[in-house]
Structures are given as structure tokens and as C-alpha cells.
Chain length 575, copies 2
């Protein structure tokens, strides 16, 4: 159901959901009674991702910053535009909620002022928000993990045994070690997801989702002073001094829209502002009724699998399990595949012969569309290939970024579309591995729902249904995260007693849109058995060739040896 | 040293070598005293490869026939043209020799008339020569192998445990079972290599090379009547009736040029005609001095490794070992890689993005040249990849056509030229595996010489030198097989006492043209260790995933299941 179909939706109460992505924010105006999408608008961030230079100085590799002025600017631009697009009276809006990329975190003063906005600090990289994909804190994450395992910290197993360099502690430790003066000036270290709420309602909050998944908040507390001191004595007070704050459940009201924020957004002052949330997790209620065992796979460049469970279990290789991390009252589980759409895009860049590209041009279709079409034309198993979906490493269930991709079964008759098909299937096998691992750990997946950019490929969706032997439900909105935020806004405004009730009324799902075909699923069972054997051989230590190849690669690239061409003598005449 | 450099070579005695390839025959005029190449000419076969239809009727899959009139026609066309090109008097020519593709074998009458030239038989496929790449006799080869192992036939281990569907017995058994009438009418079953000699000197001969490598002639006899009867009672007398004939050593004189053949070729009647030979094996003396332990790798679409050894040894996975199979008095060993240049060509067809193809066009270089250049630009190991070179199956040392290719270590940063480089390296690892296996079996390789189309890629040659840690010598002639034939003609004419003496004078080699670089070789040692581990894992039974994938593929392609596209429901609007 796209927005244009809802033009004319104008009676009753509305809420606004704002989805903060990596390059832009989208505001969506949604009717409270049934979730009908009335209008939408997008605002690009003027500074985008700051990853090359800041104030004229080059940034080191793997840095990725943002400018918080872009976040408030997006409110001023996108929200009024979405209201105009919906054609409603702003007075009909009863609440607003947001979701954000995460962990995108920043140092601020006690009054919420970002350090980068203080006089004299505009040129200091560490004064800015570090975007989720800032990967320069890997050494700090490595140390956090090593010390956590040394000390047998209980929480580490809630994160598949590994804290990511993308998360709050790694990035804060980098700040401390690289710019201690700024570390000291920061009264708070806060997720952008919470900071934007602070701007809307002038109330500091910390949401359960980012605190749990990105802030190592488990069983009522952050990592201990002792643990933090073991990382760096100066870091001992980090959680107490800069993080500690009561945790707010998702869907709760953070406060009421201030006059200043009302002026910025054009919305009525005093309406409900929901606590912050994360783009992936907020999507779960957007896909209809919330229930334990309903896995939502957000499929884009990577895939994030989120699911509620009634009980706490430690599932090997998950990204995190957090009490109330998705919906208050349930344990929220998260797992993921580091590369999915990224793998398909990589192959399209590297593996497509000229004739195919030409055919796509001639027929006016995109290369992925043409490949989808060709991939779908043959029955499962006809290409004789098995691929491992680790071109971007393995997030779940092996939690090993040093793994890499593999393709087995190539012959001189193998074609590019066949390899592409095998890559599509490899990601479906990866998802089945995650589902099976959850099931084997006592957290059975009873329903599978897909959302995100990849749902538009029908052949891919059919492969997922066949490989998992499950009917595949598809979210009924093209704006999953923003709709999810709107649902939280409705709950914060008191229109529904809780998120599940709001999700049942406002979420939308095309149930069982793709059904597994038994004959195809039988072939995929055979292929999946091969996938599992290769998965375990390469991924569980039997042959750590992928680690060694990466180590050789990194060593050689650093040291180098002379290339061959310079040494080859000129071909001379025979004698 | 190319031919044009030798224009003006006109004094003294000459010989003619004729190399019969798959699509054409090349005649080369060579000076006896020093092997100088004076002139050459090529004649295309008018009928080429007959693999689609014959006399208006469609041929079954995997058939490949030729017309023997093309063979004699080539003599009439290419030999006089080569003499003209050399600018010599035909009277200076003292001998002629030929080499042929093998096993290319045919049914003929006792007077050498091919059955396909008999009245009424022009439309009978089995009346024609079956070209080496006729692969329709695989079921017959399978049965030969099964029965040989059941009966523990001693000769089967001289062929790596497996007789090829390309060889004489499989093709003859197919003739018997599919057209028994023609089988009965055939007085002889003869290699084209021997048949063409019969046309030149009116004398039937059987050369040691094809008899040994393609005809299972070992220790003085063919497979026994009992064995043949076990295949089919009607086949019991096959060897006795249709093959048996004294075996002629290579370089021997088969006879003298008849008046008819002299009229055809323009050469003097009565000059020496050498016994037949095979294109790969005949090349060994063309690469200079003949010695035990000198391995000659003929590198083209596939690679054939031939080497003389002083002793008989059973090397695991070789294609064959034959007494006097390459040079009389030594044991001739043959091993091979089923796909080499074929793999590179396959990748070029399937793995090259548009921009690279465009750059090649813009710069006026071929894609392989551009890939070579880009592949050479990085040090070994920098791509982080390992590939198995089995896209065409594995001929040596695993002797398993059901294996397939694999690539391990792919990341989202991997580029097409990096994969190409890994494929180049994989074939070098395959050659090192063969060399190491010979060494471990008591047949040490002491010198490595390369010939064939792939020697023009300097980066590839450097990779081979580095991977094998051996200096690489390169043949000094662009016409290796024809020069090899000419050398045999000189011996048959009595100009040299034997082939080694003629090879020392007339062969040519650029010794140690590529030398291993120790630093690069060290990295390749590490990568080769990874290759060996994957080679053994996939190739020696630990995980027979490649066999299973192929079986699934073949089953699915035969039975089929409906493709996905037809089942995927239309994407509907959400509710």
C-alpha cells in the first residue's frame, strides 16, 4: 500500500514517525486508527557522512562522522513537508517518534549541547557524532573483548561473545585515548537516537534498545568499574559519569513537544514525544501483530534478524539479547548477516560480462533485474554450485569478520547468472542457519517476515521460502522504520495501551506471500546439507585457510614484494 | 626465432614436418643441419569438425567426426606451399614426418580405404574417423574401467587407473555396439596418425606412441581376449583382428614416399617417411636435448606434461607410461591438466565487468593482455584468494573428471583481475602438484620446459617459475610440433643416428628464460600449502561435495522442477 493510495486520508488523529538513516531522514504521517500512510517527505543531510576531511584536515581511514545540525535541520525540513504532503491540519497530530541508525553516539554537555558546536571545537574530529559505520575503534573493541573474556564477564555471552567496534564503549574508549581533553569535557556520551528526543522534549532519556544492544546494559547495570578500569584506569567512571540514567521502555512517553521544537516542526506544542529507537528494531511492530517467535528479517545491504522471545536463552552467535530491546516485556533477540545485498552488488560490479550488461541496456532493465530473471529460469541445483555468503565476514552464527566467501562447483560451462543465483541462495542458507540455531537453542522461529529493499526481488523471496521451507510474509509498507516509529508515537500519545496493541491495528503485513514449493525445497535441503558441511569446515576451525589468506594478504600489502612484470625479462629469440 | 628471420636459408638438406591439428594441418620446411625453419604453410580442413550433422542427419550429442579426405587434401595443399615459402628446390628434401591429434581413430579396409569412402556408407556416422574429442563413448570407457578393475588387469595402473573415453578401445567398442555391420566390415581400426603414413608410403605401421598411450599396448601385447570377451563376446578378437601389427619405434623409417604421394606433395619419390607420432609427444625433441627428467609442459587450452624417465615407475594419477612412448629407449610419462587456457577463457567470457572490456577496447589490447597486466601489478598473496583449477575436471593426479573448480577467500573488495590472477596461479599449483608427485614416485623432474600458446604471457610464465621454484625454459620455436616432426623425418632419413642426436642439433630452447624470485616463491609456498590442503580435502574423499553437486545438477537438469518465476505470485498491495 503506497502513500499515493492514501491521499485523501484526512479525518481523525495522526502521528508522525521520523526515520533517521545514514544520509537522510524521512518523516511519515500516519493515521492512528488504522496505520494508513497519509504523507511523507525526505530531507538529505547537508553534511552527509564526514569520512574524508573535517575543517580542511584529512580524516584517518575508517572514520565516519556526522554533523548533529543535520539531525535538527531534518526535523525542520521533513516534518512540515510531510504534513503538507498529507494535506492534514497539523493540529490533528497527537504524537511524534523517531528511530535512528545505531550505534551513532556523541559527546555532549549536560544541557545536550554537542561538543562540536562549542567555540573552538569545530575542527576536532572527536567532538562530532561517530556514525554507526565509523570503524576506527576496532583496536579498542579488540581490547574490550579480550579483557571481557579474561575476566569472564557474564554479559559478553549476551553478545555472541563479541562486542562490536561500532558500539558505544569502543567508540568512547577511542575518544578517551585519542583526545582525553574532549573526553573530560563531555558530560554525557549519548546515542543520537536519545539526543534527538532531548531536542524535541528537553528531557534526557535513554531507551532500552540502544542501551541494551549498543551500551552493554544487562540485568540492570552497565559493565562494572573494575572492568572499565582494567581497560584504562581513567575509564573506570565512564558508565557512572557519562551514561548512567534510568532506562525508558520503548513506546513510553519521553516528554512533550517543547515550544521551540513545535516552532521547528510546525507541530502543536505539548504533543507526546516517544523515547528513541533503532531503525531495525522499530520495524518489528510495523510488520503487524507482535508475538514471540515472529522473526523479522530486515534485508538490505546486510540483513538484521530481530525477534522477540518469551524467555532468556543464549543463542550461539547472536548479536545481542536485550530485555525489552524490541518490545517491553519480551526478550529481544538480534542476529545478522554482514553481507547480503552488498554481495549481490559486488558481483554485479565484478562478474558480469559485457553481453549481459548490453542486454540489460537494450531492454531497459537493471542488471540485478536481468540477473534475477535469468537466475529464476532454472530449477534449484541446476547450476551445480554452492557458495558461502561471507564476502563481508560472518556476523551470525560464527561471529567472525575474518571469514571470506567461497564458491565450489565451478565448471567451464558455469555462467555468470548461475554464480549470481548461487550467491542469492548462499544468503538464504545463511538465514536458515540462523533460524536453525535459534530453534536448537530453545527460541523457535514460528513465523518469518521480510522487510527492506530486497523484498522487491520475487525470485529472491521465493528462494528464501524454498530454502527455509517456510511461508514468507512481507511487510505491507514501503516505509517500515518510519511506520514503526509512528506506531510508537501512537502508544506514547496514549492512543493504544501498548506497542503490540498499536501494531495489531496500525502494522501491515502480506501474510504468506511466498510459499515453499515442496519439490524445490527438497533439492534445497540437499544443497543446504552441503552448505552446512562447508560452513562448519571453513568456519569452525577445521581449516582456517580464510584467516590465513587474510593474514597473508594484509602482510603482503603492507610489506609488498616486487610485482612480476618488472622482473620478467623481455622475450628473446630462440637460439 | 621466427620463420621470417630464416628467409634465405636455402643451402643443404631439408626435411618436412606436418602437424595435423584439430582444424588444420601445418607443414614446416626445416634445415637438417641446424633446425633452421625455412618456410611454412597451413591448410584448413574443408569439413573441419563434424559434430552437428552428417549427410543432412543430426548427430547425437558429444559426437565429433572428421573426413579423411581433408587429411590427404592438406598434404596436397600445405606441403607444396611450404616449399614455395621456403624458396628451396623440392629436390633438397630428404624426408617427411607427421604428427597428429590422438586418439583420432578410424575403421578402414585392409588396403587402407576408410569405410566412409565406400559406396553407400557416406551417411553412416560410424564409418568416419572419430576425432580425439568425440566423447560419446563414455559409457563404453566406464565399462572398460569397471571390468579392468574387477579383473585386476595389470595395465590399468599404467594409466592412472582409468582409460579415457577418447581412446581406441572405448571408441571401437562403441562402433561394435552401435553399428555391428560396420564393425565387421572394418579390417583395421587405426589411428589417423598411422593412417596418414600409410598414404605416404603404402606401408601399414603402428607407432609406439599411440599404441602405448591410446591403444593400451603394454609389455608387448594388447589387452587379452578374455578381457575383451568380458566386455562383449563379439569383441574378443578385436585386438588380434583389427589392431595387431608390429610396433614401430618413433623416428624409424616407415617406408619411402610413393610416386602417388610424391605427385600429391611435390616432393621427390623415394624419400624417407617416418612413422607416425602425436602432437604433444613429438614436441619434446623440438625443445632441444632429450634427457630423462626433462619435463615438457605443452600449455594451451589444457596442459600436457610429457617426460622421459630411465626407469618404469607407477606415478599416481598420470595419464600413461609407455616404453619408448616419446623417445625409443626411455619410458615416456604423460600427465595433464584438463583445463588451463580453457579456464582463463571461461573467466574472460563470464567474469569481466564492462569497464575493463571498455578499457581493453580503448587501449587496443586484448582482454587477456589487460588482465595479465593487472594481475602482474600486485605481489603474490595480495588478493587473499586460493582457487582449485578443476573447472574442466582433474586429469592428474586425481584422475577425476567429476571434480570442479572452487574459489576461496572472496571479499567485497575482491576484483575481477584478482580472481583472474588466482586462476592463473591455480594452474601453476596444479603443475607443481604433478611435478611433486612425479618426484615422490621416484621420477624426479630436473628441468622444466614450456611450449604452446600460453608461453606468450610473461606474467603467467613468471608465476609458474615462482610457484614451482624452478627456472623455466621456453621452446625457441613457434612451431613446436611441426619442428618435432621434422626432427623425426631427419632421423628416418638417416641424417642423425637417433632422435636425441637430432634434437640436440635441430631443437631449440631459451634456457632459464624465467627465474624464480625467492621472496615471491616464499609467499607462493604458503599459498601452495593452502592449495594442497584444499586439493586433498575436495579431491581425496574427505568431502565429495563436488561429486554430489554434479549428480544433483545432472538429475535436476534431466527431471527438472518448475522454475521459481512461474510460481511467484504477483506482488500485491498491503492490507
Amino acid at each position: 500500500m503506497d502513500v499515493s493510495a492514501n491521499k485523501g486520508v484526512s479525518g481523525g488523529a495522526f502521528v508522525v514517525g521520523v526515520d533517521y538513516g545514514t544520509l537522510s531522514a524521512r518523516a511519515l504521517v500516519v493515521r492512528v486508527s488504522d496505520g494508513a500512510e497519509a504523507g511523507t517527505a525526505v530531507s538529505e543531510y547537508p553534511h552527509g557522512v564526514i569520512d574524508r576531511e573535517l575543517a580542511g584536515a584529512e580524516l584517518p581511514p575508517d572514520w565516519a562522522l556526522q554533523d548533529p545540525a543535520d539531525y535538527t535541520g531534518a526535523l525542520a525540513a521533513a516534518v512540515p513537508a510531510a504534513i503538507r504532503d498529507a494535506g492534514i491540519d497539523p493540529g490533528q497530530v497527537i504524537g511524534i517518534a523517531t528511530d535512528f541508525t545505531a550505534s551513532t553516539c556523541m559527546p555532549v554537555l549536560a544541557d545536550s549541547t554537542p561538543l562540536c558546536q562549542l567555540p573552538g571545537l569545530a575542527g576536532r574530529p572527536h567532538a562530532y557524532p561517530k556514525l554507526w559505520k565509523h570503524h576506527a575503534a576496532q583496536p579498542h573493541a579488540d581490547r574490550i573483548n579480550a579483557v571481557a573474556h579474561e575476566r569472564s564477564e557474564k554479559w559478553i555471552n549476551r553478545y555472541g561473545g563479541k562486542i562490536s567496534s561500532e558500539w558505544q564503549f569502543a567508540k568512547a574508549l577511542q575518544l578517551l585515548e585519542e583526545d582525553f581533553e574532549l573526553y573530560q569535557r563531555a558530560d554525557r556520551w549519548i546515542e543520537a537516537a536519545d539526543w534527538i528526543i532531548w531536542q524535541l522534549c528537553a528531557t534526557e532519556t535513554r531507551n532500552a534498545c540502544t542501551a541494551g544492544y549498543k551500551g552493554i546494559f544487562q540485568d540492570g547495570h552497565y559493565p562494572s568499574r573494575d572492568f572499565l578500569a582494567a581497560l584504562d584506569p581513567r575509564f573506570a567512571g565512564f558508565a557512572d559519569d557519562k551514561l548512567a540514567h534510568p532506562i525508558s521502555p520503548l513506546g513510553a512517553r519521553a516528554g512533550r513537544l517543547t515550544r521551540a521544537a513545535a516552532a521547528l516542526t510546525g507541530l502543536p506544542a505539548g504533543i507526546a514525544v516517544a523515547v528513541g529507537n533503532v531503525d531495525a528494531h522499530v520495524t518489528v511492530p510495523a510488520a503487524g501483530p507482535v508475538a514471540a517467535g515472529k522473526m523479522v528479517a530486515i534485508m538490505g545491504t546486510s540483513t538484521c534478524h530481530v525477534m522477540n522471545g518469551a524467555e532468556l536463552a543464549e543463542v550461539p552467535g547472536m548479536c545481542g539479547v536485550v530485555d525489552g530491546g524490541i518490545v517491553a516485556g519480551l526478550w529481544g533477540y538480534e542476529a545478522g548477516q554482514s553481507g547480503v545485498g552488498d554481495i549481490f552488488a559486488w558481483f554485479t560490479r565484478n562478474g558480469i560480462p559485457g553481453e549481459l550488461a548490453e542486454e540489460a541496456r537494450r531492454r531497459g532493465v537493471s542488471l540485478p533485474e536481468l540477473l534475477d530473471e535469468q537466475a529464476a529460469a532454472a530449477p534449484p541445483g541446476a547450476h551445480g554450485l554452492i557458495a558461502l555468503d561471507w564476502e563481508g565476514g560472518n556476523r551470525s552464527v560464527l561471529v567472525d569478520g575474518r571469514l571470506s566467501g567461497a564458491i565450489v562447483g565451478l565448471t567451464l560451462a558455469t555462467t555468470a547468472p548461475e554464480i549470481y543465483r548461487a550467491l542469492l541462495e548462499s544468503t538464504a542458507f545463511g538465514t536458515r542457519m540462523i533460524i536453525d540455531t535459534f530453534g536448537a537453542s530453545g527460541v523457535p522461529v514460528t513465523e518469518l517476515v521480510v522487510v527492506g529493499g530486497l523484498i522487491k526481488s520475487a525470485p529472491l523471496m521465493q528462494i528464501y521460502a524454498d530454502v527455509t521451507r517456510r511461508p514468507l510474509s512481507v511487510i505491507g509498507s514501503g516505509q517500515g522504520p518510519a511506520l514503526g516509529s509512528a506506531i510508537h508515537a501512537a502508544v506514547a500519545a496514549g492512543a493504544y495501551p501498548d506497542v503490540p496493541a498499536a501494531a495489531a491495528a496500525m502494522g501491515r503485513i502480506d501474510r504468506d506471500l511466498y510459499r515453499p514449493d515442496p519439490a524445490r525445497a527438497d533439492v534445497y535441503d540437499e544443497l543446504y546439507a552441503e552448505y552446512v558441511q562447508l560452513h562448519d569446515y571453513f568456519g569452525r576451525g577445521a581449516n582456517q585457510v580464510m584467516h590465513r589468506l587474510r593474514a597473508i594478504r594484509d602482510r603482503v600489502r603492507k610489506a609488498g614484494t616486487p610485482p612480476a612484470a618488472s622482473e620478467a625479462p623481455a622475450r628473446e629469440a630462440g637460439a
